[in-house]
């Protein structure tokens, strides 16, 4: 019978906490920048300018139909041959932004398309500028409609971020790899880390539903 030994894992627990903190920072930063990329791409896709739409479509299809691991290898190992050198952590951030941007664009586009034409016409009739219409009449209700999809995509992003350990960024999974190579308690280390990821995803979904309750007070009209 195997004897579980969690002692070395808890002796190195501060390493794991440090890794978890970087995972949180990476995911939150990637989400915020990725959201900006998504809104820009979704605006571009619905703008009616055909070449712009083709480029954005190609970006979305390429990212959504290739694995994140290959994307990060391409960015981390491939870009230096173009003269772009990135540290593991910044390569991880870039890869997560690029990845989240593709999924986010489709989610936000769906939100924008759910806005009825009459709303925009009413905005024009009220004399709002194009930017005002985009911000208050299109984006605000659109973001609300897609809020649940966006938040679950964020949690998926955080779980996916464990893959950045493959290029030895300093995230939670990488902290685990280091700890298990120091202690040889592989199974115990990964059990603890998996539980930490689970706690983070439950924690984030709790925070997101609290934000939803606080931010979206007015009733949805259908």
């Amino acid at each position: 019978m195997y004897n579980f030994n969690f002692e070395p894992v808890f002796a190195g627990f501060d390493q794991l906490l440090l890794g978890a903190w970087l995972t949180i920072q990476l995911s939150v930063a990637a989400m915020i920048i990725g959201l900006i990329v998504s809104i820009a791409c979704a605006a571009g896709k619905t703008s009616g300018i055909a070449p712009l739409r083709w480029v954005i479509d190609a970006y979305i299809e390429i990212i959504r139909n290739t694995p994140f691991l290959v994307q990060i290898f391409f960015i981390f190992f491939g870009l230096p041959s173009l003269g772009i050198f990135l540290t593991p952590n910044s390569a991880a951030l870039v890869a997560l932004v690029v990845n989240f941007g593709a999924y986010g664009t489709e989610i936000i586009r769906a939100g924008i398309e759910s806005i009825q034409k009459g709303q925009i016409e009413a905005g024009t009739a009220l004399g709002l500028s194009k930017l005002q219409i985009f911000r208050y009449i299109i984006m605000k209700p659109a973001l609300r409609t897609v809020y649940p999809s966006l938040t679950s995509q964020f949690i998926y992003l955080m779980l996916t971020s464990s893959v950045v350990s493959a290029i030895s960024a300093d995230d939670l999974a990488a902290a685990g790899n280091n700890l298990q190579s120091q202690t040889f308690a592989s199974f115990e280390v990964y059990i603890v880390i998996t539980i930490m990821y689970l706690v983070m995803s439950v924690g984030f979904s709790t925070i997101f539903s609290a934000i939803e309750k606080a931010a979206f007070k007015y009733p949805l009209s259908r």
Partner: protein, 220 residues
């Protein structure tokens, strides 16, 4: 033989042929996940409390943790259970469990989307659980399920790339190996990405078409 060899047509074909392992791994995980997923979905919509709780917990754990950690846990867990470390077996088991949880959750939604009147009518006609599911509920649910299932297959194929990290030589791992010999990461990972794209994109398009056709058919 020089230490660094150029990326040529041979290297290209080695990478392309490694896709067979990606396809094999995806196919096995999809078949296993199909069986497991059906079981989880049925447990999840069961009237009995315990099966429902177990299935809910299973789905929560697998959807709330990274696939990479699931792979590591199975990989090292098998060693603890006394099996020799075997990346091929570990990847198959982990991806099957992963697919079971995701397909279980997708199919639960499809089963619940079948109007409850159908089930009630079947019960009123005297059909027991097995026949009710077999002839009334599942055939209707499966129509709803096709598009999201194909969509998940794309996610699964991409997920098999993580088996490279535990040392199973599929498409991504073969790319790493070739990259270590040729030092042309741009070409190597570009080729690897292109092969994944060729595998996944037709499925993505198919899933989208089926979804569109289905929503048109049910719109009336």
């Amino acid at each position: 033989m020089p230490l660094i060899r150029p990326f040529g047509i041979n290297e290209f074909w080695i990478i392309v042929l490694a896709a067979q392992w990606t396809i094999a791994l995806s196919a096995i995980a999809f078949a296993g996940g199909g069986i497991g997923g059906l079981l989880i979905a049925l447990m999840r919509v069961s009237d009995a409390k315990w099966p429902r709780l177990i299935a809910t917990g299973f789905i929560r754990v697998f959807q709330g943790t990274p696939l990479l950690m699931q792979l590591f846990l199975v990989f090292f867990g098998m060693n603890i259970l006394g099996f020799a470390i075997n990346p091929w077996l570990a990847a198959t088991v982990a991806l099957t469990l992963h697919a079971s949880a995701f397909l279980g959750e997708i199919w639960r939604g499809c089963i619940e989307a079948v109007p409850p009147g159908q089930r009630e009518a079947a019960t009123a006609l005297g059909l027991r659980y097995y026949n009710r599911m077999r002839y009334i509920v599942l055939p209707q649910a499966s129509k709803i399920a096709v598009a999201p299932t194909v969509g998940f297959l794309v996610q699964l194929i991409k997920g098999t790339s993580l088996a490279a990290i535990i040392g199973f030589t599929e498409l991504t791992r073969q790319g790493q190996i070739i990259n270590n010999a040729t030092f042309s990461p741009f070409m190597v990972f570009g080729t690897v990405a292109a092969v994944y794209f060729v595998l996944c994109w037709p499925l993505s398009v198919l899933a989208r078409r089926m979804e569109l056709r289905f929503s048109r058919a049910t719109a009336r």
